[in-house]
Symmetry: C2
Subunit: 433 residues, 2 copies
């Protein structure tokens, strides 16, 4: 991967296309394994889940201990340092306030024909939240998923989190408590997704499953899609920063590294109108990489997928940004509003130098579950709509049916759907007879 | 499948559960075939699409004739009888008006901490619409998909429709014209889905693909999901009618048959508080089945999957309805509003005896692409939101960062994401220094 790209260079288009299409993740093909696990859980329920948990997590469960008891949750959550709990609570409050504004309105109106039309939003009855057990266990993600569900009005929120070798994560449990998770099961992997989708003797099935996971979890979510709803299949994290020369290179370097440190497959890109500034950011990244705790991960991500792109003007930056359709987009330029207005595809935009992306990961309020891998071209971050569904409503009066019924009958006949037409005709005949 | 179920019968729960879980569709496993077709189209582009179209549709295309020319569309669409065109236009106008009201609002506000937060909705750049070529080619479905996309503001709408043996469907092309479809390609099957998702020399890739299709199309949509967005994978149609005894049995019979005639796998269920009325509807269905054009299809659907359920009261009817989560729900009772208020899961509700479901298929205004197979528990009918995505916005001031930054730093440290914390800390130090 080239580190520096110059929009003016003759090979720019080829280099930029390569950057866009870089395959950053090798998903192992685990589909057959996952299909077998799902079939096993459907057939044998708890027994299958318990066996698989013993095998993969080295934890012996019974139907009674599969679910964490309230006392156990409280005890583990109690180990969280007070400043972390306070920060989780501050974050939760801000996330809740943001998502409450997302609640869509019902509508109903009578149109000129006399038909009363509209729709109504209702929450799913039950949602399942997958929380990974390993290195990428983030209490902030528990808040983001669970609060969106609870604000939407989901009555029952069941969380699954594997506990390899029995270890509980206090901060994850504290976040679950704060967010109002109703049930917590110490299971993970494809077996947990199958249990949520199909239910077992102990775990009632849910209607929607969200949350990140490894290749097995992703494959399982894909497979149960249709039986239940799922959120997006998230890929490795990305940030694009558009910055002019009037920024502190170290701040921008840290913003880029805060994505790179997530994952060796993460991608951090800077687009700048100032080539010298771009070089300063690259230098600052190198400096920070000497001491950063996660320098091995962040360094690999930066080495393999990072890039600095020089452009002649911000209009070009916006065009390139829209081709990237970044998950996270930071705008650090003099007139952020003018630049933001040119952005058509991005998961989340962070405006101005006082808004590092990390604010959005924790305490900004907007959801940090965002579309990756260019899918911001067609999808949105997680929100209350993911836990709601819309029922449309229509009510005809005899007059309205007289006005529009004949057209329906005509179209039904043209589609050779006789009963459709007759169902309208029988009523029109009554009105006319 | 039992025809009559009585809520008071001792075996009711078992019979109702069997009704709920009836497997109505045997999807052949075509996944390997589809994977090969997609790989072929990705590798060879137009050449693969042309070869596959020759093989499956017996049509010889070139890159130049793949797309229908404007004159060809106009000529075919001109063959549509004037009354059908007028009906399509009436339908289009009503669908457009309904969907225009669905457009979500952008939002922006400054919160107590001084952070400016909000979101913005933008359309996908390009959408692809799959239209089947065989028996189930419905111009009304073209209107429903295309108008939702166009109202959302999709700039480029590309439609694919196979033309087996070269036959064009005039009404489908007229509907495409009326709805504002931008490009029409005479290709179908998994190869058309692959061409839309990945692009070929002739067909530019799209960002979102919607529309119904056979098992190959459904498998292809599942496979390209992630590369592009897709709508739901639709199953066979369903209707649930809740009716008291004060209805014309023939009207209800026709409403039930208007689903049954779609497909042998369709399902029509009546829940009634009046057992004698239920018997009258069954008799009326039998009578209509003697003469209905599509009696073979409708008869098979009714025989295999139809049911009439007697309940003691409407509260019970609502509870059963919510377990079914029907695609279409007709409420034909004295107080439809009281009953509608108890419905939590349904794709679309038709209120009162003057609102046959067929109105919703054509001219009601709401979309007729609706969640099937109990997926109304977690998903909605097609609408403008399917062609829009939301970008969240956050802008901190120095004061806002001072207020919430320390909590972000605390959480970043607790998640061992040092660069996240440093990106906030560097700015706070500047503010404090």
């Amino acid at each position: 991967m080239p580190r520096f790209l110059d929009h003016a260079a003759p090979d720019f288009e080829a280099a930029f296309t390569a950057l866009l299409s870089a395959k950053r993740e090798d998903s192992p093909d685990v589909d057959d394994t996952v299909a077998a696990i799902i079939a096993d859980v459907r057939a044998r329920g708890d027994a299958a889940v318990i066996e698989l948990t013993e095998r993969f997590d080295r934890v012996s469960l019974t139907p009674e201990t599969m679910r964490l008891g309230a006392a156990e949750v409280a005890e583990a959550a109690g180990q969280v340092p007070p400043d972390v709990r306070a920060a989780l609570e501050l974050a939760a409050g801000r996330i809740r306030a943001f998502h409450a504004r997302q609640m869509p309105a019902d509508d109903s109106w009578t149109d000129p024909a006399g038909a009363t039309l509209g729709w109504r939003w209702t929450p799913v009855d039950a949602a399942g939240l997958y929380v990974p057990g390993g290195i990428a266990t983030y209490p902030s993600s528990v808040l983001m998923n669970a609060i969106a569900a609870k604000v939407a009005g989901v009555g029952r929120l069941a969380m699954v989190v594997p506990t390899p070798d029995g270890a509980l994560n206090p901060a994850v449990l504290a976040a679950a408590q704060i967010a109002g998770v109703d049930e917590i099961y110490r299971i993970g992997g494809a077996q947990a997704v199958a249990a949520l989708a199909y239910g077992t003797e102990t775990i009632a099935p849910v209607d929607k499953i969200t949350g990140p996971g490894n290749a097995y979890v992703a494959a399982a979510k894909r497979r149960v899609f249709g039986k239940v709803g799922i959120d997006m299949i998230a890929g490795p994290s990305e940030i694009l920063v558009i910055a002019d020369g009037q920024n502190d290179p170290d701040w921008i370097a840290l913003d880029m590294l805060s994505q790179a440190e997530h994952d060796e497959s993460a991608q951090s890109i800077l687009i700048t109108t100032d080539a010298a500034f771009g070089q300063k950011v690259a230098d600052a990244i190198d400096t920070r990489l000497q001491t950063l705790e996660r320098r091995a991960i962040a360094g690999a991500s930066w080495r393999d997928f990072g890039a600095i792109v020089t452009v002649p003007d911000l209009a070009t930056a916006a065009r390139l940004s829209n081709r990237i359709a970044p998950e996270h987009l930071e705008l650090c330029v003099a007139d952020v509003d003018a630049l933001a207005a040119q952005i058509t595809h991005a998961g989340a935009i962070f405006l101005g130098q006082w808004t590092p992306e990390a604010i959005g990961d924790y305490v900004g309020g907007p959801n940090h579950v965002l579309p990756t891998a260019r899918s911001a071209r067609f999808s949105s971050g997680l929100g209350v709509l993911d836990f709601l569904k819309r029922t449309t409503l229509a009510r005809m009066t005899p007059e309205a049916l007289r006005a529009v019924g004949p057209a329906a009958e005509t179209l039904a006949r043209s589609e050779s759907l006789e009963a459709h037409g007759l169902s309208v005709r029988a009523r029109l005949d009554k009105l006319n007879g």
